[in-house]
């Protein structure tokens, strides 16, 4: 085994993961911007962009599989490659949430908004910021940085609950808003899920650095909170 080949390959995969992360981060932010501005054209672009995200994810996956097959990595190298496979999958799923939000914007068309969007863009910003820092920690194998990020997921969860209650109030007081409110509820739910997946990325960083597999946040499940 030549170290240089493997080191080079690992660096390349981490760079690619970071690049994919940037695309996904923008997709999340732009999907909510499009929703806020009711910009259907922008939403369509985001929807299309998901194909690129999926493609890049497979490229990373392929690179990692080839590195495992040809370089027989061990110890931390192996943990990095296994984690790259996992994180590329998480990013692809976060990309799907952005695509889902874009689809809602397209479906909503020019229906009048039921309320100005305040908490949902906040959720998007928090999630994108968490994702950004989680990926920086990931490519630096920085467990200390990674372990602090999931705590912020509580803020996203808090905003989600707030949005949920507020939209419920709209629906109860005026059943004609049910369709539009449900759309927004989906958007909030997608963002809440995206932030949970950021937590998974942080768990991977801790695994690379320490070899320990600890679930950081037990609220990370598919059930509605």
């Amino acid at each position: 085994m030549t170290r240089e080949t493997l080191d080079h390959k690992l660096q390349e995969l981490l760079d690619d993961t970071l690049a994919l992360g940037t695309i996904v981060e923008h997709a999340i932010l732009h999907s909510v911007e499009a929703l806020k501005a009711r910009d259907i054209e922008m939403a369509r672009k985001i929807y299309q962009k998901d194909k690129d995200i999926n493609h890049k994810r497979f490229e990373i996956e392929n690179g990692a599989i080839i590195a495992i097959a040809t370089q027989q990595p061990m110890a931390m190298d192996l943990r990095i490659l296994a984690s790259v496979l996992d994180v590329a999958g998480e990013l692809e799923r976060i990309g799907d949430y952005a695509k889902g939000i874009a689809l809602i914007t397209i479906r909503m068309g020019d229906e009048p908004p039921i309320k100005p969007l305040i908490d949902i863009p906040k959720m998007a910003e928090l999630t994108a910021d968490m994702l950004h820092r989680a990926l920086s920690a990931f490519v630096e194998y920085d467990a200390q940085k990674a372990v602090a990020i999931p705590e912020e997921d509580d803020q996203v969860d808090g905003l989600y609950n707030q949005v949920y209650r507020e939209l419920l109030t709209y629906m109860i007081s005026d059943p004609s808003t049910i369709d539009r409110a449900t759309y927004l509820l989906w958007v909030a739910h997608n963002l809440e899920r995206a932030a949970d997946r950021v937590t998974n990325i942080c768990e991977r960083t801790i695994y690379i650095a320490t070899g320990k597999r600890d679930e950081i946040d037990s609220s990370d499940d598919e059930a509605l909170t």
């Binding site: 085994m1 170290r3 990595p73 061990m74 110890a75 190298d77 943990r79």
Partner: protein, 251 residues
């Protein structure tokens, strides 16, 4: 349950080339324990201690104990022939005797006093099956062993050890001269054999160490750096030196 207990074993050769420094290690029964590390780390020395092959080499200093089933095998009163029957060894290069395949297997039994032909036939079949060679040689047991391929010869050497029904099998880079298919066959038969025997393997590569190890001991310059279950040691080693070695950063 440990079959072999090595307690504070220190050994120096007179030329100081390779040595063991205060090694303590328990080798579990019915498992493959892999001893690995860079050249000159003490792997082969340790293996040779386990069936007293070092008796013939120039050891200038040795202390500590090596217990097999609680019996100290370094005791000078111990019968070495009996020990070597209990602790068989397969070397890197297959050395077949210039005889037929059958005679290669019966030679040891005859020396050990076995005369019953049906018992010998049974031992031949059993040991060849265990070494994953039976199907390839069953119809030509009287052919000269030297006519076998390298991989077959190595499995014959393994069968020769197995014919004597040892308790422990030591293997010193048994597949270093074999092609990948023969290597695979030997590795597979080890997985079967560990159900019955205690196996100590010095592998020829880190990859083989990782494939084979139930337990792994990393040796560096005569020191036991780390001993752990294979699953743990090759994915998450504790010592930085182990990590660097398995990741190919030196050695």
């Amino acid at each position: 349950m440990n079959k072999i207990s090595i307690e504070n074993l220190t050994l120096h050769y007179s030329d100081d080339k390779e040595s063991l420094q205060n090694i303590s290690l328990g080798i579990p029964a019915n498992a493959i324990t892999v001893i690995f590390g860079p050249a000159g780390g003490g792997k082969s020395t340790l293996l040779r201690v386990l069936n007293r092959l070092n008796d013939l080499t120039d050891v200038s200093f040795m202390k500590g104990r090596v217990l097999i089933d609680n019996e100290d095998i370094l005791d000078p009163r111990l019968d070495v022939i009996t020990l070597r029957r209990r602790v068989g060894m397969v070397f890197a290069r297959p050395v077949v005797l210039p005889m037929s395949i059958r005679q290669n297997l019966t030679y040891g039994l005859e020396v050990a006093g076995e005369k019953d032909k049906s018992k010998m036939d049974a031992a031949i079949e059993r040991s060849l099956i265990q070494a994953a060679l039976w199907d390839e040689v069953r119809d030509r047991l009287n052919d000269p062993a030297a006519a076998l391929s390298g991989g077959q010869q190595q499995r014959l050497c393994l069968a020769r050890v197995l014919a004597l029904e040892p308790e422990v099998i030591l293997l010193d880079e048994p597949t270093s001269g074999l092609d990948p298919i023969s290597t695979g066959k030997v590795e597979e038969s080890l997985q079967e054999l560990k159900k019955t025997y205690t196996i100590v393997l010095v592998p020829h590569s880190v990859q083989q160490a990782a494939r084979a190890a139930d337990y792994a001991a990393f040796f560096l310059q005569g020191e036991l750096v780390e001993f752990a279950q294979g699953d743990k040691l090759f994915t998450n080693p504790t010592d930085k030196r182990t990590q660097d070695y398995v990741e190919g950063r030196f050695g």
